[in-house]
């Protein structure tokens, strides 16, 4: 089984230096890309089927294709790496940032070449201090070796890059919120269109890609779109870094062919549930995805498969709910998070999320009424896609709407018994 993204990552908490990375064939893909037309680089990535690994799952090649090329286009253009990774339950990009920073930089430089950008930023969340050290050093090494700066690898291409370490807020992971943060502003989302490919950072054409997404790019350029497609179990292409947290025997991260079953991840890789704990449900791709249950074990963990089951692949990191944890309490924890992290820009999100959290809090504390369930169901429609500028509120509704569907009895039990059945007296 091929593991292009993680095969060279060491277990000793150190990262691959430039020298180590070059020994694994590193920066050969960049040299190859620089000999192609930018359009052909984008075409190869488009044909590979690579989709965004940050949650939204949009075609990477298509995103690059939106950026205008040629002489009479706005400059400078920007290429931005989204390393904010603040989705609850997600920790996969950390591995790539800390373990192999040059793989990410190579993907970033190739992407910047494809859209003919002049500046690149790595946007990193504050908590990833080790990653900040790795990326800072890797950028220095890349400049020293001529992979950044003028005449990259002997070509006419020029690119400058720097690291921006964020100071908190989930909103920074949202593409346009991130751009506002990079401009030194509050991380409010922007209305789309225009999309960043046309008007992004400082109003110039910009691409924002997730860390894992970009780490795939050098391998696609080196080995071709056909090879990439052959890696996955289904026809979507590539591998995926899956993860699991919660009461499983072996929580962790695994690079597997895209499209393995939920059962395989949970049973074979996460080792099944801990003794004395039963599986009750799972958020398949971070805090803002719909629950799946025991009936979904054969779901293929790719974009189409999870979508068909009524949820989203999201970040591909599973949050496992066990039978000894209250599902209402879990959803309350999530909605408190979303309410806290709402930037307040749109009314449904600013008002609806605290209302949702308070309603859940009442139910969890035994003060709920049956009509509260109607209110919660109303909220899931009120904050559904299309009513807000960004995906925060619709994402927040995904665990709630599915919990109301799959764990309805548990909600009702709280209301009828006037207490949380999971709380010890």
């Amino acid at each position: 089984m091929e593991k292009p993204l993680t095969q060279h990552i060491k277990n000793d908490n150190t990262w691959l230096s430039l020298k180590d990375y070059e020994k694994t064939g590193g920066y050969q893909a960049l040299r190859k890309a620089l000999k192609l037309n930018p359009e052909d680089v984008t075409k190869e990535v488009k044909e590979s089927g690579l989709k965004g690994r940050g949650g939204a799952g949009f075609s990477t090649g298509m995103k690059w294709g939106f950026v205008p090329l040629g002489e009479d286009v706005p400059t400078p253009k920007y290429f931005v790496v989204n390393g904010d990774e603040m989705e609850p339950g997600s920790f996969k990009d950390r591995l790539l940032l800390e373990g192999n920073p040059h793989q990410l930089l190579e993907g970033m430089i190739i992407g910047a070449y494809a859209i003919q950008a002049q500046f690149a930023y790595v946007f990193l969340r504050w908590a990833y201090h080790q990653a900040a050290r790795a990326i800072t050093r890797a950028i220095e090494e890349a400049y020293e070796a001529g992979y950044l700066g003028k005449n990259i690898a002997g070509s006419d291409f020029q690119l400058d890059a720097s690291l921006h370490v964020s100071v908190g807020r989930y909103m920074c992971g949202e593409e346009t919120g991130l751009l506002n943060a990079l401009e030194g502003k509050r991380a409010n989302p922007r209305s789309k269109p225009p999309f960043p490919g046309v008007s992004g950072l400082f109003g110039k054409p910009t691409v924002v890609n997730n860390v894992e997404t970009l780490c795939n790019v050098p391998h696609i350029i080196a080995n071709g779109a056909g090879w990439f497609k052959s890696l996955s179990k289904t026809d979507e292409g590539g591998t995926k870094i899956y993860g699991a947290s919660g009461r499983v025997k072996k929580p962790g991260l695994w690079e597997l062919p895209l499209g393995v079953s939920l059962r395989e991840i949970l049973q074979e890789h996460a080792g099944g549930m801990q003794d004395d704990f039963q599986f009750k449900g799972v958020l398949p791709g971070g805090g803002s995805t719909d629950f799946l249950t025991g009936d979904h074990m054969d779901v293929t963990m790719d974009y189409a498969g999870v979508g068909k089951a009524g949820s989203r692949l999201g970040t591909g990191t599973l949050i496992v709910l066990d039978d000894k944890t209250c599902p209402v309490g879990m959803v309350l924890n999530l909605e408190r998070f979303f309410a806290q992290e709402s930037c307040g820009w749109c009314t449904p999100c600013r008002e609806g999320l605290p209302w949702t959290a308070k309603t859940l809090e009442a139910i969890e504390n035994g003060k709920g009424e049956m009509k509260d369930l109607d209110i919660l169901n109303f909220q899931t429609r009120y904050m559904s896609p299309g009513n807000t500028y960004c995906a925060l509120a619709p994402g927040a509704m995904e665990p709630l709407q599915s919990a109301l569907k799959y764990f309805k009895e548990d909600f009702e039990k709280h209301i009828h018994e006037h207490k949380c059945p999971w709380k010890k007296e």
């Binding site: 609850p88 100071v167 943060a181 502003k185 919660g246 805090g287």
Partner: protein, 159 residues
């Protein structure tokens, strides 16, 4: 505890170096706040006003940014800042027990600083180490697979 943290010439130079890299000075707002906090641990009203002058912005515009970001501190903090992850994976793995233990041990609630100015206790949504929950960060050090016993040992290292 410092109540005034004016911007020294050194800090000013650092901020001026940063805005050279952006098409407009205001883009260095977050970076400027970070520089001030690096030197003073928090950002005072006085510092906001001085940063506003350097970046040719209004103090309100600076403050709207400063108060938006959870890791810019607009109130004094202790010598060490403890950030306890209260996000979903940690919550499922006994966050409440860990949080209760810390509050009790330090005799403060979240958002407060110990009387000896040693620790400020805050929550943080997700530290990105969900497979090793529960987790907390003290200053820049990540501590995972927490137990109450471990907390006693960990805190000894921060005087």
């Amino acid at each position: 505890m410092t109540t005034q943290n004016n911007i020294s010439e050194e800090i000013k130079k650092e901020i001026e170096e940063i805005y050279q890299h952006f098409p407009q000075k205001s883009a260095a707002c977050i970076e400027g706040l970070k520089v001030i906090q690096k030197h003073h641990r928090w950002v005072s009203d006085e510092a906001v006003k001085e940063l506003a002058q350097i970046l040719e912005m209004s103090p309100d515009a600076i403050d709207s940014v400063a108060t938006f970001y959870s890791l810019i501190f607009r109130k004094p903090v202790g010598r060490h800042v403890i950030l306890v992850c209260d996000s979903v994976s940690c919550w499922m793995m006994d966050y409440e027990k860990i949080a209760g233990y810390l509050k009790n041990k330090l005799s403060i609630d979240f958002g407060e600083t110990t009387k000896d100015d040693r620790f400020t206790l805050l929550t943080i949504p997700c530290l990105g180490t969900c497979d090793r929950a529960p987790a907390m960060m003290v200053d820049e050090d990540l501590h995972r697979d927490l137990t109450t016993d471990k907390i006693d040992e960990i805190l000894k290292n921060y005087e």
